[in-house]
Protein backbone atom coordinates (compact mmCIF):
# COMPACT_ATOMS: atom_id res chain seq x y z
CA UNK A 1 0.00 0.00 0.00
CA UNK A 2 1.15 3.59 -0.54
CA UNK A 3 2.86 5.97 1.88
CA UNK A 4 -0.44 7.43 3.00
CA UNK A 5 -1.58 4.02 4.20
CA UNK A 6 1.69 3.55 6.12
CA UNK A 7 1.23 6.95 7.79
CA UNK A 8 -2.32 6.01 8.66
CA UNK A 9 -1.14 2.77 10.27
CA UNK A 10 1.30 4.74 12.43
CA UNK A 11 -1.45 7.03 13.72
CA UNK A 12 -3.53 4.03 14.82
CA UNK A 13 -1.12 3.18 17.63
CA UNK A 14 -2.34 5.74 20.16
CA UNK A 15 -5.81 6.58 21.53
CA UNK A 16 -5.56 10.01 19.90
CA UNK A 17 -4.54 8.41 16.62
CA UNK A 18 -7.51 6.06 16.80
CA UNK A 19 -9.87 8.97 17.43
CA UNK A 20 -8.35 10.69 14.42
CA UNK A 21 -8.99 7.55 12.34
CA UNK A 22 -12.63 7.47 13.41
CA UNK A 23 -12.95 11.11 12.36
CA UNK A 24 -11.60 10.24 8.93
CA UNK A 25 -13.89 7.22 8.68
CA UNK A 26 -16.83 9.54 9.38
CA UNK A 27 -15.77 11.42 6.25
CA UNK A 28 -15.80 8.17 4.25
CA UNK A 29 -12.03 7.48 4.26
CA UNK A 30 -11.63 3.77 3.43
CA UNK A 31 -7.89 3.69 4.08
CA UNK A 32 -8.57 4.83 7.63
CA UNK A 33 -11.25 2.15 7.95
CA UNK A 34 -8.86 -0.52 6.62
CA UNK A 35 -6.29 0.53 9.23
CA UNK A 36 -8.73 0.50 12.11
CA UNK A 37 -10.07 -2.89 10.98
CA UNK A 38 -6.57 -4.42 10.96
CA UNK A 39 -5.81 -2.94 14.37
CA UNK A 40 -8.98 -4.28 15.96
CA UNK A 41 -9.48 -7.64 14.24
CA UNK A 42 -6.93 -9.48 16.45
CA UNK A 43 -8.08 -7.72 19.63
CA UNK A 44 -11.75 -8.39 19.03
CA UNK A 45 -10.91 -11.92 17.90
CA UNK A 46 -9.21 -12.66 21.23
CA UNK A 47 -12.09 -11.03 23.08
CA UNK A 48 -14.76 -12.98 21.23
CA UNK A 49 -13.04 -16.36 21.37
CA UNK A 50 -13.98 -16.46 25.04
CA UNK A 51 -17.62 -16.10 24.08
CA UNK A 52 -17.86 -18.57 21.22
CA UNK A 53 -15.61 -21.25 19.73
CA UNK A 54 -16.92 -20.72 16.21
CA UNK A 55 -14.35 -18.93 14.04
CA UNK A 56 -17.03 -18.16 11.47
CA UNK A 57 -19.21 -16.53 14.10
CA UNK A 58 -16.27 -14.57 15.55
CA UNK A 59 -15.42 -13.17 12.10
CA UNK A 60 -19.08 -12.37 11.52
CA UNK A 61 -19.39 -10.48 14.82
CA UNK A 62 -16.14 -8.59 14.15
CA UNK A 63 -17.43 -7.58 10.72
CA UNK A 64 -20.82 -6.55 12.14
CA UNK A 65 -19.02 -4.47 14.77
CA UNK A 66 -16.75 -2.71 12.30
CA UNK A 67 -19.66 -2.14 9.94
CA UNK A 68 -21.43 -0.30 12.77
CA UNK A 69 -18.23 1.70 13.32
CA UNK A 70 -18.23 2.62 9.61
CA UNK A 71 -21.86 3.71 9.65
CA UNK A 72 -21.84 5.45 13.03
CA UNK A 73 -18.36 6.96 13.04
CA UNK A 74 -19.89 10.44 13.01
CA UNK A 75 -21.66 9.76 16.30
CA UNK A 76 -18.39 9.12 18.14
CA UNK A 77 -17.96 12.26 20.24
CA UNK A 78 -14.72 11.45 22.05
CA UNK A 79 -16.31 11.20 25.49
CA UNK A 80 -14.76 7.74 25.80
CA UNK A 81 -11.81 5.97 24.22
CA UNK A 82 -12.29 4.52 20.75
CA UNK A 83 -11.48 1.08 22.19
CA UNK A 84 -14.24 1.41 24.80
CA UNK A 85 -16.72 2.41 22.13
CA UNK A 86 -15.78 -0.45 19.79
CA UNK A 87 -15.66 -3.12 22.50
CA UNK A 88 -19.09 -2.01 23.73
CA UNK A 89 -20.48 -2.47 20.22
CA UNK A 90 -18.78 -5.87 19.93
CA UNK A 91 -20.09 -6.99 23.32
CA UNK A 92 -23.68 -6.06 22.42
CA UNK A 93 -23.37 -7.69 18.99
CA UNK A 94 -21.93 -10.87 20.51
CA UNK A 95 -24.68 -11.13 23.14
CA UNK A 96 -27.29 -10.64 20.42
CA UNK A 97 -25.68 -13.21 18.10
CA UNK A 98 -25.35 -15.81 20.86
CA UNK A 99 -28.95 -15.31 21.93
CA UNK A 100 -30.12 -15.66 18.32
CA UNK A 101 -28.22 -18.95 18.07
CA UNK A 102 -29.56 -20.02 21.44
CA UNK A 103 -26.01 -20.70 22.61
CA UNK A 104 -25.56 -20.81 26.38
CA UNK A 105 -24.21 -17.41 27.34
CA UNK A 106 -23.92 -18.28 31.01
CA UNK A 107 -22.35 -21.69 30.97
CA UNK A 108 -21.92 -22.55 34.63
CA UNK A 109 -20.99 -26.11 35.50
CA UNK A 110 -23.12 -27.80 38.11
CA UNK A 111 -20.15 -29.23 39.91
CA UNK A 112 -16.77 -27.51 39.95
CA UNK A 113 -14.89 -30.60 41.03
CA UNK A 114 -16.60 -32.58 38.31
CA UNK A 115 -14.74 -30.71 35.59
CA UNK A 116 -11.43 -32.34 36.42
CA UNK A 117 -12.72 -35.85 36.70
CA UNK A 118 -15.54 -36.00 34.16
CA UNK A 119 -13.96 -34.19 31.20
CA UNK A 120 -10.82 -35.79 29.75
CA UNK A 121 -10.09 -32.75 27.60
CA UNK A 122 -9.92 -30.58 30.71
CA UNK A 123 -7.56 -33.09 32.37
CA UNK A 124 -5.35 -32.92 29.30
CA UNK A 125 -5.40 -29.14 29.44
CA UNK A 126 -3.97 -29.25 32.95
CA UNK A 127 -0.63 -30.18 31.40
CA UNK A 128 -0.04 -26.57 30.60
CA UNK A 129 -1.07 -23.64 32.72
CA UNK A 130 -2.21 -21.60 29.74
CA UNK A 131 -4.54 -24.34 28.66
CA UNK A 132 -5.74 -24.82 32.21
CA UNK A 133 -6.44 -21.11 32.60
CA UNK A 134 -8.19 -21.12 29.26
CA UNK A 135 -10.40 -24.02 30.29
CA UNK A 136 -11.12 -22.52 33.69
CA UNK A 137 -12.08 -19.14 32.24
CA UNK A 138 -14.45 -20.91 29.85
CA UNK A 139 -16.43 -22.17 32.84
CA UNK A 140 -17.12 -18.67 34.16
CA UNK A 141 -20.51 -17.08 33.57
CA UNK A 142 -20.39 -14.79 30.53
CA UNK A 143 -20.51 -11.55 32.54
CA UNK A 144 -17.61 -12.62 34.79
CA UNK A 145 -15.66 -14.00 31.83
CA UNK A 146 -16.05 -10.75 29.90
CA UNK A 147 -15.03 -8.55 32.84
CA UNK A 148 -12.08 -10.84 33.57
CA UNK A 149 -10.65 -10.85 30.08
CA UNK A 150 -11.16 -7.12 29.52
CA UNK A 151 -9.18 -6.58 32.73
CA UNK A 152 -6.37 -9.08 32.30
CA UNK A 153 -5.98 -9.48 28.56
CA UNK A 154 -7.05 -6.04 27.30
CA UNK A 155 -5.74 -3.97 30.23
CA UNK A 156 -8.87 -1.88 30.63
CA UNK A 157 -9.77 0.15 33.71
CA UNK A 158 -12.90 -0.73 35.66
CA UNK A 159 -14.51 2.51 34.45
CA UNK A 160 -14.02 1.49 30.81
CA UNK A 161 -15.33 -2.02 31.47
CA UNK A 162 -18.40 -0.64 33.25
CA UNK A 163 -19.07 1.52 30.20
CA UNK A 164 -18.64 -1.40 27.80
CA UNK A 165 -20.93 -3.68 29.80
CA UNK A 166 -23.37 -0.87 30.66
CA UNK A 167 -23.38 -1.52 34.40
CA UNK A 168 -22.11 0.17 37.60
CA UNK A 169 -18.42 0.06 38.52
CA UNK A 170 -19.18 -1.86 41.72
CA UNK A 171 -20.85 -4.59 39.67
CA UNK A 172 -17.65 -5.00 37.68
CA UNK A 173 -15.61 -5.23 40.89
CA UNK A 174 -17.99 -7.83 42.27
CA UNK A 175 -17.85 -9.87 39.06
CA UNK A 176 -14.05 -9.83 39.15
CA UNK A 177 -14.05 -10.84 42.81
CA UNK A 178 -16.22 -13.90 42.11
CA UNK A 179 -14.25 -14.74 38.94
CA UNK A 180 -10.96 -14.65 40.89
CA UNK A 181 -12.28 -16.88 43.65
CA UNK A 182 -13.62 -19.38 41.14
CA UNK A 183 -10.41 -19.44 39.10
CA UNK A 184 -8.27 -19.80 42.22
CA UNK A 185 -10.35 -22.83 43.18
CA UNK A 186 -10.28 -24.38 39.72
CA UNK A 187 -6.56 -23.77 39.24
CA UNK A 188 -5.46 -24.64 42.74
CA UNK A 189 -3.25 -27.52 41.60
CA UNK A 190 -1.68 -25.68 38.68
CA UNK A 191 -0.92 -22.55 40.67
CA UNK A 192 0.54 -24.35 43.65
CA UNK A 193 4.27 -23.69 43.92
CA UNK A 194 4.28 -21.09 41.15
CA UNK A 195 3.90 -18.02 43.36
Amino acid sequence: MDKRADDTRMTARTPEGEACLVGRIAAGDRIAFDTLYRAYFPRLGRFLQRMTRSSTLIEEIVNDTLLVVWRKAATFNGSSKVSTWIFAIAYRRACKALQALDEPVDAVPDDVEGIATDRPEWQFAQLQLTHAVDAAIATLPLAQRTAFQLTFYHDMSYVEIAEIMACPVNTIKTRLFHARKRLALLLEDQLEGRQ
Binding site: G28, W70, T75, D134, D155, S157
Partner: protein
Protein backbone atom coordinates in the same frame (compact mmCIF):
# COMPACT_ATOMS: atom_id res chain seq x y z
CA UNK B 1 -4.73 3.24 61.76
CA UNK B 2 -7.53 1.58 63.74
CA UNK B 3 -9.05 -1.82 63.00
CA UNK B 4 -12.01 -0.39 61.08
CA UNK B 5 -9.80 1.71 58.82
CA UNK B 6 -7.48 -1.22 58.31
CA UNK B 7 -10.38 -3.46 57.23
CA UNK B 8 -11.67 -0.77 54.87
CA UNK B 9 -8.22 -0.36 53.30
CA UNK B 10 -7.93 -4.14 52.89
CA UNK B 11 -11.37 -4.31 51.26
CA UNK B 12 -10.54 -1.50 48.87
CA UNK B 13 -7.22 -3.12 47.96
CA UNK B 14 -8.83 -6.53 47.41
CA UNK B 15 -11.37 -4.99 45.02
CA UNK B 16 -8.72 -3.00 43.17
CA UNK B 17 -6.03 -5.71 42.83
CA UNK B 18 -6.98 -6.73 39.25
CA UNK B 19 -6.47 -3.16 38.09
CA UNK B 20 -3.26 -2.81 40.09
CA UNK B 21 -2.09 -5.90 38.19
CA UNK B 22 -3.02 -4.52 34.77
CA UNK B 23 -1.55 -1.08 35.47
CA UNK B 24 -4.73 0.93 34.96
CA UNK B 25 -5.06 2.12 38.55
CA UNK B 26 -4.06 5.77 38.99
CA UNK B 27 -3.92 8.74 41.33
CA UNK B 28 -4.75 8.60 45.03
CA UNK B 29 -6.38 5.18 44.69
CA UNK B 30 -3.14 3.74 43.29
CA UNK B 31 -1.15 5.22 46.16
CA UNK B 32 -3.56 3.91 48.81
CA UNK B 33 -3.68 0.41 47.33
CA UNK B 34 0.08 0.21 46.84
CA UNK B 35 0.66 1.34 50.43
CA UNK B 36 -1.71 -1.33 51.74
CA UNK B 37 -0.33 -4.12 49.55
CA UNK B 38 3.18 -3.29 50.71
CA UNK B 39 2.25 -4.23 54.25
CA UNK B 40 -0.31 -6.99 53.60
CA UNK B 41 0.92 -10.51 52.89
CA UNK B 42 -2.55 -11.71 51.81
CA UNK B 43 -2.86 -9.00 49.16
CA UNK B 44 0.70 -9.60 47.95
CA UNK B 45 -0.04 -13.31 47.49
CA UNK B 46 -3.28 -12.50 45.66
CA UNK B 47 -1.48 -10.01 43.44
CA UNK B 48 1.16 -12.61 42.57
CA UNK B 49 -1.61 -15.04 41.60
CA UNK B 50 -3.22 -12.42 39.37
CA UNK B 51 0.12 -11.73 37.66
CA UNK B 52 0.42 -15.46 36.99
CA UNK B 53 -3.08 -15.57 35.48
CA UNK B 54 -2.32 -12.51 33.38
CA UNK B 55 0.92 -14.03 32.08
CA UNK B 56 -0.97 -17.19 31.10
CA UNK B 57 -3.25 -15.22 28.79
CA UNK B 58 -4.56 -16.48 25.50
CA UNK B 59 -2.58 -16.24 22.28
CA UNK B 60 -4.01 -15.11 18.96
CA UNK B 61 -7.46 -16.46 18.24
CA UNK B 62 -7.00 -19.65 16.22
CA UNK B 63 -8.61 -20.25 12.85
CA UNK B 64 -9.39 -16.63 12.02
CA UNK B 65 -8.64 -15.29 8.56
CA UNK B 66 -8.50 -11.50 8.73
CA UNK B 67 -7.89 -10.95 5.00
CA UNK B 68 -10.83 -13.13 4.00
CA UNK B 69 -13.11 -11.47 6.57
CA UNK B 70 -12.04 -7.99 5.44
CA UNK B 71 -12.60 -8.85 1.78
CA UNK B 72 -16.14 -9.96 2.66
CA UNK B 73 -16.82 -6.73 4.55
CA UNK B 74 -15.45 -4.14 2.12
CA UNK B 75 -18.18 -4.57 -0.54
CA UNK B 76 -20.81 -4.01 2.17
CA UNK B 77 -19.46 -0.50 2.78
CA UNK B 78 -20.65 0.62 -0.65
CA UNK B 79 -24.30 0.62 0.24
CA UNK B 80 -23.84 2.07 3.71
CA UNK B 81 -22.03 5.38 3.66
CA UNK B 82 -21.21 6.87 7.07
CA UNK B 83 -24.12 8.75 8.62
CA UNK B 84 -23.85 12.53 8.82
CA UNK B 85 -22.66 14.00 12.12
CA UNK B 86 -25.40 14.63 14.64
CA UNK B 87 -25.59 16.72 17.79
CA UNK B 88 -24.26 14.96 20.90
CA UNK B 89 -27.70 15.26 22.53
CA UNK B 90 -29.17 12.87 20.01
CA UNK B 91 -26.43 10.25 19.93
CA UNK B 92 -28.07 6.85 20.26
CA UNK B 93 -24.78 5.08 20.96
CA UNK B 94 -23.82 7.41 23.80
CA UNK B 95 -27.16 7.65 25.53
CA UNK B 96 -28.54 4.66 27.37
CA UNK B 97 -32.23 4.19 28.10
CA UNK B 98 -31.56 5.12 31.72
CA UNK B 99 -30.22 8.51 30.59
CA UNK B 100 -33.13 9.04 28.21
CA UNK B 101 -35.64 8.34 30.98
CA UNK B 102 -33.93 10.63 33.49
CA UNK B 103 -36.23 13.27 34.95
CA UNK B 104 -33.99 16.10 33.75
CA UNK B 105 -33.87 14.97 30.13
CA UNK B 106 -35.07 17.88 28.05
CA UNK B 107 -36.12 15.85 25.01
CA UNK B 108 -39.19 14.29 26.60
CA UNK B 109 -39.66 16.77 29.43
CA UNK B 110 -40.58 19.52 26.97
CA UNK B 111 -43.13 17.27 25.33
CA UNK B 112 -44.54 16.30 28.72
CA UNK B 113 -44.90 19.95 29.79
CA UNK B 114 -46.54 20.82 26.45
CA UNK B 115 -49.02 17.97 26.88
CA UNK B 116 -49.73 19.09 30.44
CA UNK B 117 -50.47 22.63 29.23
CA UNK B 118 -52.81 21.24 26.56
CA UNK B 119 -54.62 19.17 29.18
CA UNK B 120 -55.02 22.24 31.40
CA UNK B 121 -56.36 24.28 28.47
CA UNK B 122 -58.90 21.55 27.65
CA UNK B 123 -60.03 21.46 31.27
CA UNK B 124 -60.35 25.26 31.28
CA UNK B 125 -62.51 25.12 28.14
CA UNK B 126 -64.70 22.47 29.75
CA UNK B 127 -65.08 24.74 32.78
CA UNK B 128 -66.07 27.67 30.59
CA UNK B 129 -68.49 25.91 28.26
CA UNK B 130 -72.02 27.34 28.19
CA UNK B 131 -74.48 25.77 30.55
CA UNK B 132 -76.74 23.15 28.98
CA UNK B 133 -80.25 22.25 29.96
CA UNK B 134 -78.93 19.57 32.29
CA UNK B 135 -76.79 21.99 34.27
CA UNK B 136 -78.97 25.05 33.93
CA UNK B 137 -79.34 25.15 37.69
CA UNK B 138 -75.61 25.32 38.22
CA UNK B 139 -75.68 29.06 38.60
CA UNK B 140 -78.01 28.77 41.53
CA UNK B 141 -75.22 27.90 43.91
CA UNK B 142 -71.87 29.34 44.68
CA UNK B 143 -68.57 27.49 45.14
CA UNK B 144 -67.32 27.51 48.70
CA UNK B 145 -64.26 29.60 47.87
CA UNK B 146 -66.16 32.27 46.00
CA UNK B 147 -66.43 35.56 47.88
CA UNK B 148 -69.90 37.09 48.19
CA UNK B 149 -70.53 39.91 45.79
CA UNK B 150 -67.90 38.89 43.25
CA UNK B 151 -69.29 39.48 39.77
CA UNK B 152 -66.48 38.12 37.59
CA UNK B 153 -64.28 35.12 38.20
CA UNK B 154 -61.01 34.06 36.62
CA UNK B 155 -58.87 30.97 36.80
CA UNK B 156 -55.14 31.69 36.82
CA UNK B 157 -51.97 29.61 36.87
CA UNK B 158 -48.47 30.83 37.62
CA UNK B 159 -45.07 29.46 36.80
CA UNK B 160 -44.10 26.97 39.55
CA UNK B 161 -41.11 29.02 40.70
CA UNK B 162 -43.05 32.26 41.16
CA UNK B 163 -42.38 33.62 44.68
CA UNK B 164 -45.26 34.59 46.93
CA UNK B 165 -44.50 38.34 46.86
CA UNK B 166 -44.45 38.30 43.06
CA UNK B 167 -47.75 36.40 42.98
CA UNK B 168 -49.26 38.97 45.37
CA UNK B 169 -48.00 41.88 43.24
CA UNK B 170 -49.48 40.40 40.07
CA UNK B 171 -52.89 39.76 41.63
CA UNK B 172 -53.10 43.21 43.21
CA UNK B 173 -51.89 44.87 40.03
CA UNK B 174 -54.55 43.16 37.98
CA UNK B 175 -57.31 44.61 40.12
CA UNK B 176 -58.53 41.19 41.23
CA UNK B 177 -58.35 39.29 44.49
CA UNK B 178 -57.82 35.65 45.33
CA UNK B 179 -61.08 33.89 46.16
CA UNK B 180 -59.95 30.29 45.94
CA UNK B 181 -57.08 27.88 45.40
CA UNK B 182 -54.54 26.72 44.94
CA UNK B 183 -56.09 23.58 43.47
CA UNK B 184 -54.23 20.28 43.16
CA UNK B 185 -53.03 21.40 39.72
CA UNK B 186 -51.78 24.74 41.07
CA UNK B 187 -54.66 26.89 39.74
CA UNK B 188 -55.95 29.94 41.62
CA UNK B 189 -59.46 31.44 41.38
CA UNK B 190 -59.61 35.24 41.29
CA UNK B 191 -62.60 37.49 41.70
CA UNK B 192 -62.93 40.97 40.21
CA UNK B 193 -65.57 43.64 40.31
CA UNK B 194 -64.67 45.01 36.90
CA UNK B 195 -64.92 43.25 33.55
CA UNK B 196 -63.05 39.94 33.45
CA UNK B 197 -61.59 40.74 30.01
CA UNK B 198 -59.69 43.77 31.30
CA UNK B 199 -58.35 41.92 34.33
CA UNK B 200 -57.44 38.96 32.15
CA UNK B 201 -55.50 41.18 29.74
CA UNK B 202 -53.45 42.62 32.61
CA UNK B 203 -52.75 39.15 33.96
CA UNK B 204 -51.67 37.81 30.60
CA UNK B 205 -49.11 40.56 30.24
CA UNK B 206 -47.27 39.13 33.26
CA UNK B 207 -44.51 36.66 32.26
CA UNK B 208 -45.10 34.59 35.38
CA UNK B 209 -48.72 33.90 34.40
CA UNK B 210 -49.08 30.72 32.39
CA UNK B 211 -52.89 30.68 32.18
CA UNK B 212 -55.61 33.30 32.69
CA UNK B 213 -59.15 32.44 31.67
CA UNK B 214 -62.61 33.68 32.70
CA UNK B 215 -64.21 31.43 35.26
CA UNK B 216 -67.81 32.40 34.55
CA UNK B 217 -70.13 34.88 36.16
CA UNK B 218 -70.55 34.55 39.91
CA UNK B 219 -67.97 31.80 40.12
CA UNK B 220 -70.15 29.32 38.28
CA UNK B 221 -68.04 26.42 36.99
Amino acid sequence: MNQHESNAAHGEAQDALPWLANGSLAGAELERVQAHVHGCATCRAELALLHTLRAAGPGPAPGLDMEAALSRLMPQLDGQEPALPVQPDSLPVQRSWRVRLAANDRSWLRAAVAMQCCAIAVLAVLLLRPATSTDAQAGDYRVLGAAPGVQHGLIVMFKPATPEHELRRIVLGSGARIVGGPTATGAWMLGADEEAAAVMARLRREPAVTLAEPFGAEGRP
